[in-house]
Symmetry: C2
Subunit: 583 residues, 2 copies
């Protein structure tokens, strides 16, 4: 016996018709001699009533929440004053009720939003029940719609989806690999891919021209609310393009997704900032641009200051910068100082404007001349918050304080706006002060800006700009990519710059260097973190809300029993013993 | 500088226009003082000529095969008598040639079909070059088109794509798992999924109602031409359906794929055979129906035979059956006998019809009465080939002989037709004669035919029919599925039937048995082997032709160096030492 339609799709055209529905009993209650229950399926809910003289009554008396039933009867309008729109305009007068399956009492309710008292551990253990809740269903459907939109758009643009291998050689993405022992070659391991990076570049060598993949990637890293050890990325690569082509393609794709999935337009092109600008103005390479509160340069103001922290910072080549905050209580300032300190600052200097004069904090160190300049940025009651020190330290601390102010004053509510931006011109190389070595900022296949290539191997190689770009949404990095190196000579220079000898480069990436020598076109691409994008579009704060079966907080799959004690050393011994190929 | 269009998309609208193209030099040759070369990209080829007075001439002289170039110039029609249609109607008179990248001499040619002398090992080593060949590009594009069609069709039918986990507990699919050591829990392993079977059933418990996924699956098995250790399946599951709903859905989806991808219709509904019929008529549960040559029952004919092999078979409860073959030489009969023996037969009895009389082979044992019946199936020169023994042995041997006849006489040419069929009513249980135990035929979650459930636990449980079905294309299994058990009681009966104690069932599948108790709807599904389907649609005979980066014959990824010696024992010791959780 087939259902006439989904419960949630019942409409006026069925009124006075005999229909068959199937679904779950949401709640059942006797009332005035009748039995009422709500029948629920994926698409919605409908009230069912079973009169006492119906042959279905006896069965209906047995119904409990979450029983699976088939119901037959005639659809009626509800009394006019009880109609609430949609399926709530109707009720089914059932004369046949068949129990398709029974249900034990659930560990938590699945109608409506989840009770805050239900611990996430319990929700994860009974994930298959948690997924019955409509907000989880909506998140899964949102994810599906986004994926489908990606296929439709990229297919129409001539992109070819290609599946790349899972059991492969270690790829150089900088995180820890998950390993798979090879049965055929004892003591050796496959690595699960951290990304399809090398494969997609090889596909460009293959003249595929435009590639995409919804790709599962694996990094053996700690769980966080916005990170799972296996995650999904939209992976894109294109030949014969420059950076602008890729940014434009992404903007059009994102706009298409928002239009088809959310029914809304987003402003394109997205705002573009260089890495330098993003760090200067927002103290972050993934700035939240939904509010202002930019960091303001004040080094020139304090050239001759008597305030020790500032003068030292400037003498050592650092900077002094500030944010303009609203009126702050002493407690709020302490809270913000804590944030600044957590982000590398030694303290958080401040002054307030009261009745036209700077007071409190470091006001006694401020000269009349300095005050004239500073008060120009202020309004009555407002507070300046200072950062001083080496550029990166000062702006990072103020960037963190800026976000704390956002949360403190609720400048961003309900994730209602979607503010995309590109951050471009990342540095090609990063100097690791601890080890005293240079490493890549994005990955070692990123092309430097041709104007800066001459700096390779010089003291100024930290200034080489990469043709690399990140896509930022509401303060989260949701994508990153680059134009790639396509000639073996530049690739070798890059390996040298990060301290790989010719022999090491050959042994690690020999096959790839060889591939570059058979006619590789200029190419570049990007990867979007799909989980995080869905999380933001679903307006939720945990990535676990948009993954059907996430790992739980203990780092194990919800279908695996709770683990025993963790003994890191023991595992590392095991690994050494079986000789990892990549070490 | 952007390309005006793909090389292969150049058309009459560009004639006399100045255009810019980018691509690979296919072949370059001097001719009459000019330099001619073919420029190639993903979409096609175009002839370029560079006159000696052009400033591009010096660069053009340097061009070698597979250089990547940018070419600018004016598009012209070729002389009328040289036009061959498409881009071969035109040529580009180039005045600017820029080398974007050089290329070493390739290890093999990439234009046209691959030279048979090029070993597959070499093609796999330089896979990125092999993929430049147009037939490989076509295969990858075919695969992409099929995938995209699946998304479009299933989305329009209300299916929701869901990604299921990769790092999970071992799933009971009967093959060897690939394992991933857990760093957090030394000595324990994740298994890579052999299929998303349990997850998709849990999604039905979750009321997702219609699920699909293009899912990568992993089985640590030997490579074959039609099997890779990680493979892709289209995975589908539906709630509130019966078998007929799933078969119909698949037929509509397959028809949609053939219409949109191949521009052709396939006959629906597909032919349906029960397992019993398929085995009786074709000696296979994946019969090739592109030709007739059915197996014919002859047990009744030989009730009183003096031919020992037949009388013994019948006395032991077996059967005698035959195929009608064309006229066969002695050598052909020997070849077919070899096939029969490889498939479990002791020999291959035969007779021929010559001038109206049975001759040769076992003709001297055939009575006049038997002859009257047998010759009714024959024509002058035709040969009967007999199988005798237990039913399954006899038909399996004749089934193999039937396929050998197909290949011997070329009954099926060029894989031009696509003949789909459903095989239904598989047995629920299979008796393993070696171990003397019962096991599942499909998997342990398959629902038995309700009419046969009473046979569980009886001697007749081998006769229980499963609600299981395979999708067969041209003699290959391309899909398989079943209606699932949705009540815990039947699930427990099934576990008992295959010898799992209540405790074992609880320890292996406790979480799943528990899930069944919270209101599980009737549900069922199917998985299509996507690689194999693409292989057949691409009309190729190796699955490696439709996978971008397959593993090679030595079982290692093409990006991993050649392995050392295989020492199975050594690996197994390693595994025992670290204590697999599932043993």
């Amino acid at each position: 016996m087939k259902r006439t339609c989904y419960v949630g799709k019942v409409n006026a055209s069925y009124v006075e018709q005999r229909i068959t529905l199937q679904g779950w009993v949401n709640r059942s209650r006797p009332l005035g001699g009748l039995i009422f229950f709500d029948l629920r399926d994926r698409e919605g809910m409908l009230q069912v009533q079973v009169p006492p003289d119906s042959e279905a009554f006896e069965t209906a008396e047995k119904l409990r929440s979450e029983y699976v039933v088939q119901v037959e009867g005639v659809l009626k309008y509800r009394p006019e004053n009880q109609r609430k729109g949609g399926t709530a305009d109707f009720e089914l007068w059932a004369d046949q009720v068949t129990i398709l399956n029974e249900a034990r009492t659930l560990p938590f309710q699945v109608d409506g939003i989840v009770d805050d008292n239900v611990k996430e551990d319990l929700r994860l253990k009974y994930r298959y029940l948690d997924l019955r809740r409509s907000d989880m269903q909506n998140n899964l459907r949102l994810r599906h719609k986004i994926t489908t939109a990606i296929y439709k758009f990229l297919d129409s643009e001539g992109f070819i989806s290609v599946e790349t291998p899972f059991l492969t050689k270690s790829t150089p993405e900088g995180a820890r690999d998950f390993l798979v022992p090879s049965r055929l070659n004892p003591g050796t391991f496959y690595a699960l891919p951290q990304s399809p990076q090398l494969f997609k570049q090889l596909l460009m060598v293959s003249n595929l021209d435009r590639y995409f993949q919804i790709a599962r990637c694996f990094r053996d890293e700690a769980l966080r609310s916005d990170r799972q050890p296996d995650f999904t990325q939209l992976d894109i690569e294109m030949s014969f393009v420059d950076q602008e082509d890729i940014l434009t393609l992404c903007e059009r794709l994102m706009d298409y997704i928002f239009q088809t999935v959310m029914g809304m337009s987003i402003p394109v092109p997205f705002e573009r900032l260089t890495y330098e600008e993003a760090m200067s103005k927002y103290g972050s390479d993934k700035p939240d641009l939904r509010f202002g509160c930019e960091i303001i340069e004040a080094s020139h103001v304090f050239q001759n200051t008597e305030f020790k922290a500032f003068s030292t910072a400037l003498a050592e080549g650092g900077v002094v910068k500030f944010l303009v905050a609203p009126e702050l209580t002493r407690k709020q300032i302490e809270e913000l100082e804590r944030v600044a300190k957590q982000n590398g600052a030694k303290g958080l200097a401040w002054v307030r404007l009261e009745q036209g004069r700077l007071t409190g904090g470091i006001s006694k160190f401020i000269t009349a001349e300095q005050s004239d300049i500073l008060t120009g940025y202020m309004y009555e009651g407002s507070t300046l918050l200072f950062g001083a020190g080496p550029f990166k330290h000062a702006v990072s601390a103020l960037g963190a304080v800026r976000l704390a102010l956002r949360d403190m004053f609720g400048w961003v509510k309900g994730n209602e706006t979607f503010n995309f931006a590109w951050v471009t011109d990342f540095p090609q190389l990063d100097f690791d002060e601890e080890s005293g070595t240079w490493t890549y900022m994005h990955h070692p296949f990123t092309s430097p800006n041709p104007a800066d290539v001459h700096l390779f191997g010089t003291e100024g190689q930290g200034k080489i700009r990469a043709q690399a770009y990140d896509l930022v949404l509401n303060g989260f990095e949701v994508g990153g990519g680059s134009i790639r190196i396509h000639d073996p000579e530049t690739q070798r220079k890059m390996f040298e710059a990060i301290g790989l000898s010719r022999e090491e480069a050959q042994s690690k990436f020999g096959f790839f260097l060889e591939a570059l020598e058979y006619g590789t076109p200029p190419h570049g691409g990007i990867a979007w973190g799909l989980d995080r994008l869905v999380m933001l579009m679903a307006r939720t704060e945990s990535i676990r809300e948009v993954i059907a079966f996430p790992k739980n907080n203990r780092g194990v799959d919800l279908m695996v029993d709770a683990p025993g004690e963790v003994d890191q050393r023991q595992l590392e011994e095991l690994f050494i013993e079986v000789k990892l190929p990549q070490e």
